[in-house]
């Protein structure tokens, strides 16, 4: 996080805001709600309070503006600059200006008003842009489902450094942006996809292309906005050029690079008993056409051609794969299976039916 130069801050904790006008692209009530929720992002983690006022000057004046709106920072039409705000102070200080020409929405289409206003309010309160790609104060727009939004730890640390901690009995904490070379990095799930490897963690995915040395970090929502964060299991069906992604008792299919229509579907369609509530990990063996699902200390085997579970399952993981413990994530590549348990990775040879290597979880990232 970065403070605005000169460390400007409000001298009071009880601030006021006013909404000067509205965009015709959203219902008034939805604009009010987006701004109210954006303010609560900051009031939830500090002693700050925001009271709405009408017909008089407020600390934070929020308005939709068009091109040159007499503040020496003209907007540039659709896309590009979405909004801007001014650091704490009298007059224009603290004010938020939103580019009227953007496609404002309350969901993943166009630009989500809640996310953008929450970011601008960080400036209104004295924060500058953060270089943490997962931070709300990162300058580039990225969509997160408002219902899943949690203020990242980087932003919490920044705003509390200015205004102090929250008055709540339990201090709020937020997600931390994964770093590829963090030796403590663990994964929710892993899959291959057209020669690349995708490591899922929270709302992020680390993407490793065999021809590139660096690892790319992206939000899952950047490519698949309708997918939830926290994908628990994933595998590639190379023959059908699709990947299946699991969370709780549902699964999605990504065909090529797009989510197939009609998903999510219940995992029970695959033949799991109702006692199974979630899948921990999965991999598919391209040479046998068999897919392995790992749940707690057991596993199921699915025949991709017959489209049904094989008989005689579940079986105990330890009896067929050895001492790999609970499986967080797994993927199959070039005839070997890679099992991930915490920060440990096991290389398993399914032909010899034995573990042939043990590495760190981050061994794929050229650290």
């Amino acid at each position: 996080y970065v403070f605005t130069a000169g460390n400007p801050k409000w001298k009071r904790n009880n601030l006021t805001y006013r909404i000067l006008n509205y965009t015709p692209k959203m219902r008034k009530a939805d604009v009010d709600e987006a701004i109210r929720k954006a303010l609560s992002v900051w009031s939830n983690v500090t002693p700050l309070t925001f009271q709405r006022v009408e017909d008089k000057e407020a600390d934070i004046m929020i308005s939709f503006a068009y091109r040159d709106h007499r503040d020496n920072s003209p907007f540039d039409g659709p896309n590009g600059q979405l909004a801007h705000a001014f650091q704490p102070g009298e007059g224009i200080g603290g004010d938020v200006h939103i580019d009227e020409e953007e496609a404002w929405t309350k969901d993943g289409r166009g630009y989500n008003l809640f996310i953008v206003v929450a970011h601008e309010l960080g400036h209104s309160l004295g924060l500058s842009h953060s270089s943490d790609p997962g931070a709300l104060m990162y300058p580039a727009y990225s969509y997160t489902d408002p219902n899943e939004f949690l203020l990242p730890q980087d932003d919490i640390d920044g705003i509390q450094a200015i205004y102090g901690k929250s008055n709540a009995a339990v201090q709020p904490t937020g997600p931390i942006t994964p770093e590829a070379c963090d030796p403590n990095l663990t994964f929710d799930s892993i899959t291959t996809l057209r020669g690349e490897i995708f490591f899922f963690k929270g709302r992020y995915m680390l993407r490793k292309h065999p021809a590139r040395t660096e690892t790319e970090l992206n939000f899952i929502s950047l490519f698949w906005p309708t997918l939830p964060s926290g994908i628990q299991a994933a595998y590639e069906n190379i023959e059908k050029d699709e990947i299946l992604l699991f969370k709780e008792d549902k699964y999605w299919v990504v065909r090529g690079y797009d989510i197939a229509p009609g998903y999510p579907k219940p995992i029970y369609r695959l033949g799991f008993p109702k006692t199974v509530k979630r899948v921990n990990a999965a991999y598919s063996d391209e040479t046998t056409g068999k897919t392995y699902f790992f749940v707690a200390d057991r596993y199921w085997r699915y025949d991709e051609k017959k489209k049904s579970m094989d008989h005689g399952y579940p079986r105990k993981i330890v009896s067929d794969f050895g001492k790999i413990g609970r499986v967080d994530a797994a993927f199959w590549k070039d005839g070997y299976v890679y099992f991930f348990h915490g920060t440990t990775q096991f290389k398993f040879d399914p032909r010899a039916k034995q573990i042939v290597g043990q590495m760190e979880s981050i061994s794929w990232f050229n650290c």
């Binding site: 130069a5 920072s73 907007f75 896309n79 590009g80 600059q81 979405l82 909004a83 801007h84 705000a85 580019d99 953007e102 630009y111 953008v116 970011h119 601008e120 400036h123 500058s128 842009h129 270089s131 790609p133 300058p139 580039a140 727009y141 057209r194 020669g195 690349e196 292309h209 590139r212 660096e214 790319e216 490519f223 690079y257 797009d258």
Partner: protein, 86 residues
């Protein structure tokens, strides 16, 4: 394999690149307008220095050149507040 999917980026319009780079650095990295950014001062021209600053901020490879990753970042919708300076 396209490294940015699901939609491959549009065909690059080479002609616009210098203008995109210069206005991005003027808007967000305090590159002085009209200050002949391509003239050398202190051994490195200001535009290259500002470009490196922007690449460093975004965790991109610091090449001082408007490479594909840098241009991709410059085209992303974003906040209008500068990343450095006022």
């Amino acid at each position: 394999v396209s490294s940015t999917f699901p939609v491959a980026p549009e065909t690059e319009d080479e002609g616009k690149t210098p203008q995109l780079v210069e206005s991005y650095l003027q808007n967000f990295y305090d590159l002085q307008r009209g200050s002949h950014p391509h003239l050398r001062s202190h051994g490195e021209n200001r535009l290259v220095a500002k470009l490196k600053e922007m690449q460093s901020f975004f965790g991109l490879q610091v090449t001082g050149k408007p490479d594909a990753d840098t241009l991709e970042m410059m085209k992303k919708p974003r906040c209008g507040v500068p990343d450095i300076g006022q």
